[in-house]
Symmetry: C2
Subunit: 227 residues, 2 copies
C-alpha cells in the first residue's frame, strides 16, 4: 500500500543545506501497525509529512496504492489526503478560532455529506476520545492532552484507510494513552493501516513492526511480537 | 518558597462553569524537585500557570517567597516572572517569526544586559540543549523536539531560582529526555527549585517528591527516593 523508494529531503537555508532525509526506502502493507522511533531531529515528522502527501521529497519516489504521488496534481492530492489518510500532527494544528467540534468536522466539509451527518460523526469521534463534554471549547480552553485528543478525533472522521499519527500520546497520562492506543488497535483490527511516531516503548509495543530512524535514514526495521 | 492555600480556578463559559482547580493547597521549599502527575484535564497546567504568575486564582492565596502574589501590581508581577521564574510551556509558545536564538534571548530584553551578553548567554543555553547549530532556524524549521528544547533553553537564561516545566520531554526521544533531565538535575543540585509536570514515570523518578492531581485537587503528595 505504501512504497517509498530512496526518498531524500533537503532544506536549503541560504548557503546551508539541511539533509532531513538521506535515502529512505520502505514498504508497508495494508493493515500493518508500524511504530516509528528515533532521536529528536532524525527525520520522522519529515517522513510522515511526505507519506501524508503534505510535502514532496527532493528526490526519490512515493507510491500510494500503486499510484506515484509525485505525478498527481493538486486536486488529486487533496482528494487522497482527505479520503485515504487521517493525520494526527505532532503540534495538533487545530484552528484556534473554531471549537473542538468544528475542528473535528473540518475534514468532512470536502465531502458530500449532510450537516446532520457531519455533526453526529464529529460528536461520535469526540465521544470516542472522551471529549463529548468539551465540544464547544476553543482550543485555548482545552488542556494540552485534550487538544491532542481533538486532533486524534479529527483524523478518524473520514474513515481513512491509513492513519498517520505523530506522537499522539506525547501529552497524555498513562490511562488516557492506553485508551487512545486501544482506539488505534481496534481500527487496526478492522484492517486500517496505522503508522505512528512515538518515543515511548510502551506505546511502540502496540505495533507489530518498529522502524528506527537515525540521521535521516532508517537504521533498523524489524517485526515485534504483538502485545 | 511557594505556598498555595486553597486555590480555586473556575472558568465561566456562558451558563457552564468549569472547575479546573477545586481547593489546592501545598508548600514547596527552595531546592525541592517536584514532579506533578495526573490525568489529562486534571488541572496541572492551570496550577502551573498560577505558580508562574501567568494567571490568577478565582479563590485562595499564593505566596511566593513570603509575598502574596495576588496583591502585586502588573509591573511587580512581570518583574517576578522575569527574574525568579523560568517557564517551559506545554505548547512551547515560541514566537513564529523569530529565530531560535532570538526566542531564547527574549526574556533578557527586560533586563539591563548588553547585546553581547544576551547573545552569548542565549547561545550557551542552546548549546546546553544540543541546538547550537539550529540557532538561526525559525520554529517551523525545527522538529517538534527541537522546538521543545528551544523552549527549555529560553527558561534558563535569566538564571531563575524556580523552573516550572510543563511536560518538557513530551516530544523527546529517550536519550534526549535523559540529557534534558540531567540539565534539570544539575540546576537542582545548585539549589534551583524544579517543578515539572510529566506523564512518564521514568521522568518523575528524577524528582524527590510526587504530587498527583485528580479532578482539580491534589489526590496524593509524597516523597520519593532520589534516583
Ligand atoms: N480557558 C479555559 N476555559 C474553559 N475551560 C478551560 C480553560 N482552560 C482549561 N480549561 C479546562 O480546565 C481543565 C484543566 O485544564 P488543564 O490544562 O489544567 O489540565 P491538565 O491537567 O494540564 O491536562 P493535560 O495533562 O491534558 O495537559 C480541563 O478540563 C480544561 O478543559
Ligand atoms: N522547514 C525546515 N527548514 C530547515 N530545516 C528543517 C525544516 N523542517 C525540519 N528541519 C530540520 O530537519 C530535521 C528533521 O526534522 P523532523 O521534524 O523530521 O525531525 P523529527 O525526527 O520529527 O524530530 P522530533 O522527534 O524532535 O519531532 C531537523 O534537524 C530539523 O531541524
Ligand atoms: Mg517530529
Ligand atoms: Mg496540561
Amino acid at each position: 500500500i505504501i512504497e517509498v523508494k530512496n526518498i531524500h529531503k533537503t532544506y536549503i537555508m541560504g548557503d546551508v543545506e539541511v539533509h532531513a532525509l538521506r535515502g529512505v526506502s520502505l514498504e508497508i502493507e495494508q493493515g500493518e501497525f508500524v511504530a516509528i522511533m528515533g532521536a529528536s531531529g532524525s527525520g520522522k515528522s519529515t517522513f510522515m509529512n511526505i507519506l501524508g502527501c503534505l510535502d514532496v521529497p527532493s528526490k526519490g519516489e512515493y507510491f500510494l496504492d500503486g499510484v506515484e504521488v509525485g505525478k498527481l496534481n493538486k486536486d488529486e492530492l487533496a482528494g487522497i489526503r482527505n479520503q485515504k489518510i487521517g493525520f494526527v500532527f505532532q503540534g495538533f494544528n487545530l484552528l484556534s478560532r473554531t471549537s473542538a467540534l468544528e475542528n473535528v468536522e473540518l475534514p468532512m466539509f470536502y465531502n458530500n455529506v449532510t450537516n446532520t451527518y457531519r455533526q453526529e460523526k464529529a460528536l461520535e469521534a469526540l465521544r470516542i476520545v472522551g471529549l463529548a463534554e468539551r465540544s464547544h471549547h476553543m482550543p485555548n480552553q482545552l488542556s494540552g492532552g485534550q487538544q491532542q485528543r481533538v486532533a486524534i478525533a479529527r483524523s478518524l472522521v473520514n474513515n481513512p484507510s491509513i492513519i498517520l499519527a505523530d506522537e499522539p500520546t506525547g501529552n497524555l497520562d498513562s490511562r488516557t494513552s492506553i485508551e487512545v492506543m486501544e482506539i488505534f488497535q481496534q481500527l487496526n483490527e478492522k484492517g486500517i493501516t496505522i503508522i505512528l511516531v512515538t518515543h515511548e516503548n510502551d506505546i511502540a509495543e502496540y505495533a507489530t513492526r518498529n522502524v528506527i530512524f537515525k540521521d535521516g535514514k532508517i537504521q533498523k526495521d524489524f517485526s515485534v511480537g504483538k502485545r
